[in-house]
């Protein structure tokens, strides 16, 4: 059946809650309301208030409670209403969830998922549009996933719920309803840490993830019209990230453009660029170039200018091709 990303989230949760009684969902408005984006629609009616828990308005309580349930045998899936609102719960995530297994010498663990709609493009201004993934990636003990298609959403969400460690599951809110796709039926999983090659092409490789994927793919299409063959990699998992796929693709072509909508300085794609130059410098025909959000708070009036438009990506590609 054709379904959107947000429908896939709800359906995947529904199915996993049916097959594993330890899976519970908690967050603000996840109950009767079905979540403000309807990512938990229909769960409350079927599973009731004991497994679909409307919490008070506190991200610290949500993440902390999820952790305490996880140590007690549950597999909680917590929802943070917007990724911008992770910060009141950031301490619970980085000081508790990320470090529990380590600091207890493996005695305790926190198998839990923290879902959050992330990224811009919805006219929400900075408190409804931010891309905090670098903060998570830079926190040892967290895994970070950021799919961009319904199929990947299903495969990665199932894997995340079943993983033994805390997984931050970021959902590109501007793509929530952007595409419909046939999603594999049944128990379909994708291992964390594997990228997806979304397009083949020998001239240059474009690397991106999450909400920036459609522009990246469109840029590749536009290049194809100019007879430039761009491969496109969708990272999907940010931690662990798929170094092998990335390095092989870049080494083969020597030219790479990295795209992320988060602010440029300290962006996770800087890590990838640094790894590329650290490990395969000699295969580079041109500098790895980054196209990222600007280092301003996410704007409201100038959102279009802020975003990683096809145009900006194309200019970067032109630069590395001309180099």
């Amino acid at each position: 059946m054709q379904q959107t990303i947000v429908q896939t989230v709800a359906k995947t949760l529904f199915a996993e809650m049916a097959s594993d009684p330890d899976v519970v969902v908690l967050g603000q408005d996840v109950g009767k309301r079905g979540g403000v984006f309807l990512a938990t629609e229909n769960l409350f009616d079927t599973y009731g208030p004991d497994r679909v828990i409307d919490t008070p308005l506190s991200e610290a309580a949500i993440i902390g409670a999820a952790l305490g349930m996880a140590t007690h045998g549950y597999r909680p899936v917590a929802e943070i209403q917007f990724s911008d609102y992770i910060y009141p719960g950031f301490d619970q995530l980085v000081s508790q969830a990320a470090k529990l297994r380590y600091r207890s010498g493996g005695q305790f663990a926190a198998p839990m998922v923290v879902r959050m709609p992330a990224g811009g493009g919805v006219g929400g201004g900075h408190h409804h549009s931010q891309s905090p993934e670098t903060h998570f990636v830079h926190t040892p003990g967290l895994k970070v996933v950021y799919p961009s298609t319904p199929t990947d959403t299903k495969g990665l969400l199932l894997t995340a719920i079943r993983d033994g460690d805390p997984v931050v599951f970021m959902e590109p809110k501007r793509l929530y309803r952007a595409v419909k796709e046939d999603v594999p039926e049944g128990d379909y999983t994708i291992p964390l840490g594997t990228a997806s090659v979304r397009r083949q092409g020998d001239d240059v490789v474009l690397i991106s993830y999450g909400g920036a994927m459609p522009e990246t793919l469109k840029a590749a299409e536009a290049l194809a019209e100019q007879n430039i063959a761009a491969a496109v990699i969708d990272l999907r998992s940010l931690l662990p990230w798929d170094k092998q796929t990335v390095l092989e693709a870049v080494a083969a072509r020597g030219r790479v453009v990295l795209v992320s909508e988060a602010p440029k300085t300290g962006n996770f794609i800087s890590e990838i660029a640094a790894t590329i130059s650290e490990e395969i410098l000699d295969s580079l025909e041109a500098p790895p170039v980054r196209v990222a959000g600007f280092d301003t708070p996410y704007p409201y009036a100038q959102e279009k200018l802020y975003m990683t438009s096809v145009n900006r990506i194309l200019q970067a590609v032109q630069y590395v091709l001309d180099y």
Binding site: Q28, D29, G31, K32, R33, G34, V36, D54, T55, P56, L57, S58, E59, A60, A61, D84, Y85, Y87, P88, G123, G124, G125, H126, H127, H128, K264, T265, F294, D295, T296, P297, P299, Y300, A301, Q302, L305, Y306, N311, R312, Q315
Partner: protein, 382 residues
């Protein structure tokens, strides 16, 4: 048990009551055991501002439905509480740290409809330069801290400002408003605790409408009332009928003047109701019964105050008509002016990150504007 649990010498109101403090009943009849001492002008001004808030809301809604404003948070149902707050603030001295639902409040304090619509439309009429989504006004000239979406995050700064007022001996007061959902955030609790410990002159004015989007009061907290939370921090907490502007005004006036005189902070639990969905993005039929909304509409703060005023010959249909027409004309004009003010320039995106532009933003700005100019040029040639 609690230090301030007894009304202070000369105080009219008792904290921590089980039923809301009210000086009028639902029919707008005076029921308090003291005499009304507000002059007619101020009474009428209160009504006018409540009506202005309601009509502003309607006009905002029109802008939103027509697609001009991308978003709306309605203040309908909260007018009594909001206008009462506005009328206790000493302009130019006190500070307000409001939240997104306070359109009526900040308008009454002096943020013009044009500014508010300018913010909603992100035009040059917005003193905040179009940086945030609709519903986020603010004005440094009026000491109104620009609204921030992150719930309760404005409350610790509000306490800092109140503390400054105390340290500088200014006889000034900070008022911060928020919904009852905000009281579950750590920030609210950490901040009110600091205010208590430091005796900072601040009023925590909760507009308790019983819902945080879909989450009802009993899922939000098991506290008997939001007022009861004052006990945790050494503050008197007052449960007030938030559908009556006079009840709110009298209690506010008392606690504001006490804070101004150095007697420390207080917490208000004003019982209001939100008539509309949480925002233009919400569908409230998923979580609350229509009858409940209907029941509260019977208690409309405007109608109640009309009755109160009418009994004193301070309101009649003719005045209402006239007021409405004047206000609506003003609002229509404001919306027009706000729109006509023109778009925020793209280049402004890079301003105000810091006081001056550091090199990396300078670089990013130059490149972005160059690319923009090129693509506009190439669009123009097509």
């Amino acid at each position: 048990m609690i230090k301030q649990a007894q009304p202070k010498h000369g105080a009219r109101f008792e904290p921590f009551t089980t039923t809301p403090i009210a000086v009028t009943n639902d029919h707008g009849e005076w029921t308090a055991d003291f005499e009304l001492d507000i002059d007619a002008d101020l009474l009428q001004e209160m009504y006018r501002d409540m009506l202005a808030a309601r009509l502003l809301d309607d006009r905002y809604s029109t802008l939103q439905r027509s697609g001009k404003a991308s978003f709306l948070v309605s203040s309908a149902g909260h007018e009594a509480a909001q206008i009462a707050v506005a009328k206790t603030v000493k302009l130019g001295v006190d500070w307000l740290y409001p939240y997104y639902r306070d359109t009526g409040l900040v308008h009454s304090l002096g943020i013009s409809a044009k500014d508010i619509f300018g913010q909603a439309l992100a035009t040059l009429a917005d003193p905040n330069k179009g940086r945030q989504m609709p519903g986020h006004p603010g004005s440094s000239t009026l000491n109104i801290f620009t609204v921030c979406s992150a719930i309760a995050s404005h409350i610790p700064p509000a306490v800092g400002t109140a503390l400054s007022m105390k340290l500088r001996n200014q006889q000034a007061v900070t008022i911060t408003s928020f919904g009852e959902g905000a009281t579950s955030e750590g920030d609210f609790n950490a901040a009110i605790n600091l205010a208590g410990a430091q005796g900072a002159p601040i009023i925590f004015a909760c507009e308790n409408n019983g819902y945080a989007i879909s989450v009802g009061y009993t899922k939000q907290t098991a506290a008997e009332s939001i007022a009861a939370k004052g006990e945790a921090f050494g503050l008197p907490g007052y449960v007030v009928d938030g559908m009556d502007v006079l009840s709110c005004y009298y209690v506010l006036k008392e606690v504001v003047e006490a804070a101004r005189a150095g007697h420390g902070p207080a917490l208000l639990d004003m019982r209001v109701y939100r008539y509309n969905p949480h925002s233009s993005a919400d569908d409230d039929s998923r979580y609350r019964p229509k009858q409940e909304v209907e029941m509260w509409r019977q208690r409309d703060p405007l109608t109640r105050f009309q009755r109160f005023l009418a009994a004193r010959d301070l309101w009649d249909e003719a005045w209402e008509q006239e007021l409405q027409e004047t206000l609506e004309a003003g609002l229509r004009q404001a919306a027009k002016d706000a729109e006509a003010a023109g778009d925020i320039p793209d280049a402004w995106m890079f301003d105000d990150v810091f006081e001056t532009l550091p090199w990396h933003l300078q670089e990013q700005r130059d490149k972005a504007l160059k690319q923009l100019a090129e693509s506009q040029a190439s669009d123009a040639t097509h």
